[in-house]
Symmetry: C2
Subunit: 103 residues, 2 copies
Amino acid sequence: MPDAEGHPSTGEMDLRTVLGALADPLRYGVVAALLREGEGAARTCASFNLPVSKSTLTHHFRVLRESGLIRQVDRGNSRAATLRREDLDQRFPGLLDLVRADS
Amino acid sequence: MPDAEGHPSTGEMDLRTVLGALADPLRYGVVAALLREGEGAARTCASFNLPVSKSTLTHHFRVLRESGLIRQVDRGNSRAATLRREDLDQRFPGLLDLVRADS
Protein backbone atom coordinates (compact mmCIF):
# COMPACT_ATOMS: atom_id res chain seq x y z
CA MET A 1 0.00 0.00 0.00
CA PRO A 2 1.28 3.49 -0.80
CA ASP A 3 2.29 5.52 2.27
CA ALA A 4 0.20 8.36 3.73
CA GLU A 5 1.67 10.77 1.18
CA GLY A 6 0.73 8.50 -1.73
CA HIS A 7 4.24 7.22 -2.45
CA PRO A 8 4.11 3.64 -3.74
CA SER A 9 6.74 1.18 -2.58
CA THR A 10 9.21 0.10 -5.25
CA GLY A 11 7.32 -3.15 -5.81
CA GLU A 12 4.04 -1.31 -6.19
CA MET A 13 5.29 0.85 -9.05
CA ASP A 14 3.42 0.14 -12.27
CA LEU A 15 5.19 0.60 -15.62
CA ARG A 16 2.14 1.89 -17.48
CA THR A 17 1.42 4.42 -14.74
CA VAL A 18 5.03 5.62 -14.84
CA LEU A 19 4.94 5.91 -18.65
CA GLY A 20 1.70 7.88 -18.41
CA ALA A 21 3.26 10.22 -15.85
CA LEU A 22 6.23 10.79 -18.15
CA ALA A 23 4.09 11.32 -21.26
CA ASP A 24 3.09 14.83 -20.18
CA PRO A 25 5.60 17.47 -21.31
CA LEU A 26 5.60 19.41 -18.03
CA ARG A 27 6.00 16.31 -15.89
CA TYR A 28 8.65 14.96 -18.23
CA GLY A 29 10.49 18.27 -17.87
CA VAL A 30 10.45 18.00 -14.08
CA VAL A 31 11.90 14.48 -14.19
CA ALA A 32 14.52 15.47 -16.78
CA ALA A 33 15.49 18.48 -14.64
CA LEU A 34 15.84 16.40 -11.48
CA LEU A 35 17.87 13.88 -13.45
CA ARG A 36 20.34 16.59 -14.42
CA GLU A 37 20.77 17.57 -10.77
CA GLY A 38 23.12 15.69 -8.51
CA GLU A 39 22.00 12.49 -6.82
CA GLY A 40 19.52 13.22 -4.04
CA ALA A 41 18.96 16.83 -5.03
CA ALA A 42 15.67 18.22 -3.68
CA ARG A 43 13.80 21.06 -5.32
CA THR A 44 10.59 22.85 -4.44
CA CYS A 45 7.72 22.64 -6.91
CA ALA A 46 7.88 26.40 -7.44
CA SER A 47 11.54 26.22 -8.46
CA PHE A 48 10.61 24.61 -11.78
CA ASN A 49 8.76 27.77 -12.85
CA LEU A 50 6.08 25.81 -14.65
CA PRO A 51 3.59 28.06 -16.51
CA VAL A 52 0.52 26.65 -14.76
CA SER A 53 -1.81 27.52 -11.87
CA LYS A 54 -1.04 26.34 -8.36
CA SER A 55 -3.79 23.71 -8.49
CA THR A 56 -2.48 22.34 -11.80
CA LEU A 57 1.01 22.29 -10.34
CA THR A 58 -0.29 20.32 -7.36
CA HIS A 59 -2.00 17.90 -9.75
CA HIS A 60 1.15 17.27 -11.78
CA PHE A 61 3.26 16.67 -8.68
CA ARG A 62 0.65 14.31 -7.31
CA VAL A 63 0.76 12.28 -10.54
CA LEU A 64 4.56 12.19 -10.32
CA ARG A 65 4.47 11.19 -6.66
CA GLU A 66 1.78 8.53 -7.01
CA SER A 67 3.55 6.94 -9.99
CA GLY A 68 6.70 6.62 -7.91
CA LEU A 69 8.87 8.89 -10.02
CA ILE A 70 9.45 11.43 -7.28
CA ARG A 71 9.38 11.56 -3.52
CA GLN A 72 8.00 14.69 -1.91
CA VAL A 73 9.04 15.77 1.53
CA ASP A 74 7.58 18.54 3.65
CA ARG A 75 9.81 21.48 4.41
CA GLY A 76 7.70 23.71 6.63
CA ASN A 77 5.48 25.64 4.24
CA SER A 78 6.83 24.16 1.02
CA ARG A 79 7.51 20.67 -0.31
CA ALA A 80 10.67 19.51 -1.95
CA ALA A 81 10.77 16.84 -4.65
CA THR A 82 13.53 14.30 -5.23
CA LEU A 83 13.82 11.77 -8.01
CA ARG A 84 13.57 8.15 -6.77
CA ARG A 85 16.60 7.10 -8.82
CA GLU A 86 17.61 4.02 -6.93
CA ASP A 87 14.05 2.70 -6.69
CA LEU A 88 13.42 3.37 -10.38
CA ASP A 89 16.71 1.81 -11.46
CA GLN A 90 15.82 -1.27 -9.46
CA ARG A 91 12.21 -1.58 -10.62
CA PHE A 92 12.59 -0.39 -14.24
CA PRO A 93 16.26 -0.79 -15.24
CA GLY A 94 17.13 1.47 -18.16
CA LEU A 95 14.12 3.77 -17.91
CA LEU A 96 15.99 6.76 -16.53
CA ASP A 97 18.78 6.14 -19.03
CA LEU A 98 16.25 6.65 -21.83
CA VAL A 99 15.18 9.99 -20.39
CA ARG A 100 18.80 10.96 -19.82
CA ALA A 101 19.75 10.10 -23.42
CA ASP A 102 16.81 12.14 -24.67
CA SER A 103 17.60 15.31 -22.70
CA MET B 1 9.09 13.58 -42.49
CA PRO B 2 6.80 10.63 -41.74
CA ASP B 3 5.84 8.59 -44.80
CA ALA B 4 2.42 8.74 -46.48
CA GLU B 5 1.05 6.27 -43.92
CA GLY B 6 2.27 8.38 -41.00
CA HIS B 7 5.21 6.16 -40.03
CA PRO B 8 8.05 8.29 -38.63
CA SER B 9 11.62 7.41 -39.54
CA THR B 10 13.70 6.02 -36.68
CA GLY B 11 15.36 9.40 -36.14
CA GLU B 12 11.99 11.14 -36.02
CA MET B 13 10.68 9.02 -33.17
CA ASP B 14 10.05 11.07 -30.04
CA LEU B 15 10.43 9.46 -26.61
CA ARG B 16 7.57 11.36 -24.99
CA THR B 17 5.23 10.49 -27.86
CA VAL B 18 6.19 6.82 -27.57
CA LEU B 19 5.66 6.87 -23.79
CA GLY B 20 2.25 8.48 -24.30
CA ALA B 21 1.31 5.81 -26.83
CA LEU B 22 2.31 3.10 -24.36
CA ALA B 23 0.51 4.69 -21.42
CA ASP B 24 -2.90 3.58 -22.69
CA PRO B 25 -3.81 0.06 -21.47
CA LEU B 26 -5.23 -1.11 -24.82
CA ARG B 27 -2.28 0.19 -26.82
CA TYR B 28 0.14 -1.21 -24.28
CA GLY B 29 -1.60 -4.57 -24.64
CA VAL B 30 -1.15 -4.51 -28.41
CA VAL B 31 2.57 -3.80 -28.10
CA ALA B 32 3.00 -6.45 -25.38
CA ALA B 33 1.14 -9.00 -27.55
CA LEU B 34 3.29 -8.23 -30.61
CA LEU B 35 6.38 -8.49 -28.44
CA ARG B 36 5.39 -12.01 -27.40
CA GLU B 37 5.02 -13.02 -31.07
CA GLY B 38 8.01 -14.06 -33.11
CA GLU B 39 10.19 -11.41 -34.75
CA GLY B 40 8.41 -9.83 -37.71
CA ALA B 41 5.01 -11.30 -36.86
CA ALA B 42 2.16 -9.36 -38.47
CA ARG B 43 -1.35 -9.30 -37.05
CA THR B 44 -4.53 -7.62 -38.19
CA CYS B 45 -6.06 -5.01 -35.89
CA ALA B 46 -9.16 -7.20 -35.49
CA SER B 47 -7.08 -10.14 -34.24
CA PHE B 48 -6.44 -8.35 -30.93
CA ASN B 49 -10.17 -8.50 -30.08
CA LEU B 50 -10.11 -5.11 -28.39
CA PRO B 51 -13.45 -4.21 -26.76
CA VAL B 52 -13.84 -0.92 -28.66
CA SER B 53 -15.65 0.43 -31.72
CA LYS B 54 -14.02 0.30 -35.13
CA SER B 55 -13.34 4.05 -35.09
CA THR B 56 -11.70 3.82 -31.67
CA LEU B 57 -9.64 0.89 -32.88
CA THR B 58 -8.52 2.96 -35.88
CA HIS B 59 -7.58 5.79 -33.51
CA HIS B 60 -5.47 3.57 -31.27
CA PHE B 61 -3.62 2.03 -34.19
CA ARG B 62 -2.99 5.47 -35.66
CA VAL B 63 -1.43 6.60 -32.35
CA LEU B 64 0.75 3.46 -32.33
CA ARG B 65 1.75 3.95 -35.95
CA GLU B 66 2.49 7.67 -35.68
CA SER B 67 4.59 7.17 -32.55
CA GLY B 68 6.72 4.64 -34.42
CA LEU B 69 5.87 1.65 -32.24
CA ILE B 70 4.22 -0.33 -35.04
CA ARG B 71 4.30 -0.47 -38.80
CA GLN B 72 1.03 -1.07 -40.59
CA VAL B 73 0.92 -2.63 -44.02
CA ASP B 74 -2.08 -3.01 -46.30
CA ARG B 75 -3.29 -6.49 -47.02
CA GLY B 76 -6.16 -6.04 -49.43
CA ASN B 77 -9.13 -5.14 -47.23
CA SER B 78 -7.35 -5.36 -43.90
CA ARG B 79 -4.14 -4.00 -42.41
CA ALA B 80 -1.53 -5.94 -40.55
CA ALA B 81 0.59 -4.49 -37.76
CA THR B 82 4.16 -5.37 -36.93
CA LEU B 83 6.27 -4.13 -34.04
CA ARG B 84 9.23 -1.98 -35.16
CA ARG B 85 11.62 -3.87 -32.89
CA GLU B 86 14.87 -3.09 -34.62
CA ASP B 87 14.05 0.61 -35.04
CA LEU B 88 12.92 0.87 -31.41
CA ASP B 89 15.96 -0.98 -30.08
CA GLN B 90 18.18 1.39 -32.04
CA ARG B 91 16.38 4.60 -31.08
CA PHE B 92 15.39 3.76 -27.49
CA PRO B 93 17.64 0.95 -26.24
CA GLY B 94 16.05 -0.93 -23.38
CA LEU B 95 12.51 0.34 -23.87
CA LEU B 96 11.09 -2.91 -25.23
CA ASP B 97 12.98 -4.83 -22.54
CA LEU B 98 11.01 -2.89 -19.92
CA VAL B 99 7.71 -3.87 -21.54
CA ARG B 100 8.92 -7.46 -21.93
CA ALA B 101 9.93 -7.66 -18.25
CA ASP B 102 6.53 -6.28 -17.26
CA SER B 103 4.45 -8.71 -19.31
